[in-house]
Symmetry: C2
Subunit: 434 residues, 2 copies
């Protein structure tokens, strides 16, 4: 059996797990891949930093370029654009197999790197960059290659799912749960990228690119975070049989794809409703396959390392059999069968769950219902509960609409806001999967 | 763009959908595959039978062998061993790409057919034969190729899931729901293969083969059906936060794989608990990836046709790029890195939910608890509810145990059955995912 040389770039959270697997599982990997995989070095910034006990100090080097030049297979887990980008390009120019988990690099220089892989007979594997351990790239790109994806809905950010799930389970407030998530390491000290939906929006763009074979960017994605979700919202959703999730949604419309990230009510019995804690899931609707869902851990050292190793072993199998390593995942970026443009949220059909505080007197409901009718929005359910505020005779209304155009729904809310009998619009949340 | 000739064998439920997709979506398929796909004929037993309106009568032929000999790509959807097996072998000997959804044929002659594909540079795609539209073959075989699968739990039979889900939702009895499922076409007139777990057991063997790279057969799988599940069992499970599902479970143990199919209590919040109606799902546990789940439709014309087309387009992409079609799914059967043997259910650790009718008098609980203790089985929860049978002073006990060896649990139940204070053992169900 021949031996292939593996260079590992980066020894962080994921990198050190990849090193461990390469060393501990070398026999099984060789049997599966058809070649022995020899870890010849790990490029790090500082060789003095202590690493895991399975990493022999002599493997560490600061000479990343020299390491790349000696390797048949390069695993890039440094992250960020540079020096990662130059090292990946260098390896691909040599015709090497490169496996990366670097979302930022793909978003910024993906097209160029895939072309380098094609031109030089190399291969760029990137399953680990999309939804961590969840196999999503091959299912979308190969298993569904004879079908037409119409909609993708994903829980793609573990931090926000952990927070919303904890709010749902404990009834606690957003701020308390965020604090707890930070203490447990599920949320960063500066949680903005997660809780404001930026991370989910970037993933929505990548999933859309994979699903609809078109170039989309973060800026094409409509975005709302979860910071305004209250314990009351969660409670009200529960009462109506729903759970609130931060969803990344990409939808094929007549002449383009609408992408959006926002907190969303989904039925508790929906498969996405059973995604708890920091787990992720991607729900796909296709013309012929119908509904599919892929569930798993979207982040973390070991799960992401599993995806890296899957790319590596699959590529080595092809190399070993003399098939040439490239020629599968590369299609994702190459095949552009459709000329779909990004569309704003105003193009989608959705339904709303609206919470209002209103004056509790006769005729209020009919005035509110009239506004829905004027805008052509039909009401699926309405529930009134008297507030504690006896003196002001206020009551709280929860209205869930049928599906209508986003524009009609937004106009309805704007008109309701102006009614004198409405003292407050407490919340406006979209509903999916109903 | 070059054109490849496609022969379709069979025009049943799945075949007619495949024909429709090949005809209606020809442009999109050509763009994705890199070659035009021309449906040159459909082999059927009787050309006089009426087919869907998209199928031109001149496409139909009874000369299957002649059709196979003219084709670059052969789609086998006849089912059964013969003539399907001879036709598939004939095509593979010619070095053609063959895509099949034929579970029975794979189980009986898989090894021989994969070898024919390898020897002659052909390819045998079979994603459609495993869990219908759910992409499971590539995720297990490629995405997890650098990981170690430890356990697979699947809802792999739509009929039984439809029945159990309806019992859970409506509180109805097994017999009534079975009748309803038959009326709706979800269950066959003779439902034995489904409700006695034979279909699920065959799928358990195939999933185990894929997951653990070893040869397993239907006969290696322990099997219990769902015919003895009562509305009371479903109710009691619900009360305790569980739902009853027919699971196909394959588990890696020290020196082998234990495979079993039986009705199982799983927590309602478990991802498998959100699999409703006739949907299927496969839940996978791997050393590094952790928990993964793949969800979708396990049967039906259009979903299965989607899986067939995915195999076809993926293979054509490789052909078009001159890579040779084979060399990916074939590994599934070829790679035998481990020598794992099938193990009986007595080797597994599980937990039980036991329902008993007992005499309601002091000392009964302690006698029952003593038997658990003697067998080293610890009790997680016990619930006593008084029955209606005031005169006989009977009460009903539900006991859920912690995890113990199957042998110890079975021994516990046998001893309890002999107690004079136990008038009836109402049900014994295993619990997973707790």
């Amino acid at each position: 059996m021949n031996t292939l040389k593996v260079a590992l770039l980066g020894a962080g959270n994921v990198g050190s797990e990849v090193a461990r697997i390469l060393i501990e599982d070398s026999e099984v990997l060789a049997a599966r891949a058809g070649s022995k995989l020899e870890l010849i070095g790990i490029a790090v910034r500082d060789t003095a930093t202590k690493r895991g006990q399975h990493i022999a100090p002599e493997l560490l080097t600061t000479e990343a370029e020299a390491l790349v030049d000696q390797a048949d297979l390069v695993i890039e887990l440094i992250g960020g654009i540079e020096p990662a980008g130059s090292l990946v390009a260098r390896a691909l120019k040599r015709g090497s197999v490169v496996v990366t988990g670097n979302k930022a690099l793909l978003a910024e220089r993906g097209a160029e790197l895939f072309q380098l892989a094609r031109e030089n007979g190399g291969h760029l594997g990137f399953e680990a960059a999309v939804a961590g351990a969840i196999p999503i790239l091959r299912p979308i790109n190969e298993s569904l290659s004879g079908d037409r994806i119409t909609k993708v809905m994903g829980i793609v950010n573990g931090t926000t799912n952990f927070i919303l799930d904890a709010m749902d389970t404990t009834g606690a407030d957003f701020a308390d749960v965020l604090k707890q998530a930070q203490d447990l390491g599920y949320a960063e000290a500066d949680p903005t990228a997660d809780i404001e939906g930026f991370d989910a929006a970037a993933k929505a763009a990548i999933l859309s690119m994979l699903s609809f074979h078109a170039d989309f960017r973060l800026g094409d994605v409509y975005r709302e975070g979860i910071t305004s979700i209250t314990a009351d919202d969660v409670d009200a959703a529960k009462e109506a049989g729903f759970v609130i999730k931060l969803l990344a949604i990409a939808e094929r419309l007549e002449d383009g794809v609408a992408m959006r990230v926002h907190p969303t009510l989904i039925p508790r019995v929906h498969p996405l409703g059973a995604v708890h804690g920091a787990f992720n899931a991607v729900f796909v609707e296709a013309d012929n396959a119908g509904e599919l869902m892929f569930y798993g851990q979207g982040a973390g050292g070991r799960p992401t390392a599993s995806a890296v190793m899957g790319d590596l072993v699959s590529a080595v199998r092809r190399l070993t059999r003399g098939v040439g390593a490239a020629k599968d995942a590369d299609e994702v970026v190459e095949v552009r069968s459709l000329d779909l443009k990004p569309l704003g949220i105003e193009h989608v059909m959705t339904s709303y769950c609206i919470g209002l505080t209103v004056t509790d007197r006769p005729g209020v409901l009919s005035r509110i219902a009239a506004i829905f009718a004027e805008n052509g929005v039909s009401i699926e359910q309405m529930r009134q509960s008297r507030g504690n505020d006896e003196e002001n005779q206020a009551s709280v209304l929860r209205i869930i609409t049928h599906r209508g155009s986003e524009q009609a729904l937004a106009q309805t809310v704007a008109s309701i806001r102006e009614l004198d009998v409405v003292s407050r619009v407490n919340s406006v949340l979209r509903v999916e999967g109903n």
